[in-house]
Amino acid sequence: MRGLRVPRGLPFVLPYLPFLIVFGIAPTIYALDLAFTNATGGWAWFHNFVRTFDDYRFVPAFKHILLYTSVWLAMLVVIVVGLALLLHGRANRVSSTFRFIFYMPGALAGAASVLVWLFMLDPVVSPGRFLLQHVLGATLFAQSIAPGNLPFIFAMIAFWTGAGGWIVVMYGALNTIPHDLEEAARIDGASPIQIALRLKLPLIRKWIAYMVILSFATGTQLFVEPQLVNEASLGLVPDTWSPNQLAYQLAFRYADFNGAAAIAVDLLFIGLVGAFLIVTRTGLFRTDD
């Protein structure tokens, strides 16, 4: 008696399927459905997209996150790669201590990191009050978080929590470079700087691409940082600073689920394009054996 033959491996995947369908695929389809229909369920073509685009808060919100992600990505590429190369110069205990110090703030993600930086930006209590007063010219908390500063502040918070993890990744990638290659370059008379820029940098290119695309997609989703700063600023910073906040407000304040879905679809689209680029262009992920 052999009974029914079950394809090999399928039973192990079955418990995962409901999760993938209910919390991955179905929400996406439902958001698309809402985005293309109106409140009574009738087909609305692109009306919700046009309507939300025309909202006076839509373009500023996207401008904010565009500036924020540009600053953040520039910091990531230059400083993360730079520090990883500096650390890779010599592998010893000093290097691992520095890596640990850089990595540590990663434990403070989300709301905790924002609270810490609210303190750091308050000239009254900040250990960096000298910098705040003399570089930013801020003597009051409200001056530190002036709207013009926000994209830079959020970029700095994101950098502070996330850079260490990426430095560890880049350092790991640098360690995969065969030692002979470096040795050969050194014998040929290349300086440490030349080795870093001409040999090591091109060899970790795909990791840098991965970091940039992933961070761009994540950056466009900004929510918790402006949300908390809004709470701490007495309305000086709008509660629709980022697109995700705008979508949230549409859903929760105006019960405009179709409009919220349209913005969610905009953001999902950016995420999907990023994911597509990472999978097809960096070659870091495999789906075949």
Partner: protein
């Protein structure tokens, strides 16, 4: 001698960044030991007293009828339950995807990969809208179940099994008369320890730090995890909301209490970070030696 200045410059740059990364953490550790007024007058990186620390805890704990404990408990409950489900689901799924032969395997893998790379926040509002339509908001499960869907864990398990487990080992078990389930339980599962640690780390940290999803699907502040609780606390303190200062505020939540609340909120993740850094490094080194 050209080497010495270059070395000094390197150390100077690294140290400057070390200060940038470490000082906010140091400040946060020291702040709850000082009274609110001392935060303004004393040196920012000085230690106050243990008495002030216990006073700050007393105020924090008293806030809104011990709700702070409730938030920490909620966070532990949500993150640990979701991570347990994630592990139970993703380790077998990764195994099935690595060695299975069934139609749709490639499609499933590609879907997992795409959902894993798109930022989790992109799915929050769609999930909220879906749960709203199904009238499933405001329960513990409205947080735990979405948290339990963790495609990155499936992908990690898949990569681990595909690269570290020789198919010959599985064939040998089958020849010895093991069923498919026995093969998995006796051969593949005992080998899964490193990937279990990895999935635990990423899943727990992601769940603990998630702010957006619980904020949208929960309504009652007694159900909040600590991340959302912190934002509640922030809007109750006169330190950042002078409007809260009037009206005979008796909540006693000032900067030291807020700093202490933040500090305690990161302890579980900090522990996971410390433990995992060792395990992660050991795993990497171990893998390299085996090659």
């Amino acid at each position: 001698m050209l080497r010495l200045p270059a070395l000094t410059l390197r150390l100077a740059i690294l140290s400057a960044f070390a200060v940038f990364f470490a000082v906010p953490v140091l400040w946060l550790i020291l702040a709850p030991t000082k009274a609110d007024s001392a935060l303004v007058t004393a040196s920012p990186l000085s230690f106050g007293s243990f008495h002030q620390l216990s006073l700050a805890w007393h105020h924090l704990d008293r806030f809104s009828d011990h709700i702070y404990r409730r938030w920490i408990y909620n966070s532990l409950y949500y993150a640990l339950s979701a991570t347990a489900i994630t592990l139970a689901v993703s380790v077998p799924a990764g195994y099935g995807l690595a060695f299975g032969k069934f139609p749709g395997r490639r499609l499933l893998l590609s879907l997992t990969l795409v959902v894993m790379i798109i930022p989790a926040a992109a799915l929050v509002l769609p999930i909220f809208l879906e749960l709203n339509a199904m009238h499933l908001l405001g329960r513990s499960l409205s947080v735990i179940l979405p948290f339990s869907f963790f495609p990155f864990g499936v992908y990690l398990a898949y990569i681990y099994y595909a690269t570290a487990l020789p198919p010959g080992l599985l064939d040998a078990a089958r020849v010895d008369g093991c069923s498919e389930v026995q093969t998995f339980v006796r051969v593949a599962l005992p080998l899964a320890k490193p990937v279990v640690a990895l999935v635990f780390f990423f899943s727990f940290v992601a769940d603990w730090n998630n702010f957006f999803l619980p904020l949208t699907v929960l309504a009652d502040s007694n159900q909040y995890p600590i991340q959302v609780g912190l934002s509640d606390l922030l809007s109750s303190t006169p330190s950042f909301n002078p409007a809260q200062g009037g009206g005979g505020q008796t909540v006693d939540i000032f900067r030291p209490e807020l700093a202490l609340a933040t500090l305690i909120a990161i302890v579980p993740v900090a522990i996971v970070f410390l433990v995992s850094q060792r395990a992660l490094v050991r795993g990497l080194v171990g893998g390299a030696v085996k090659e």
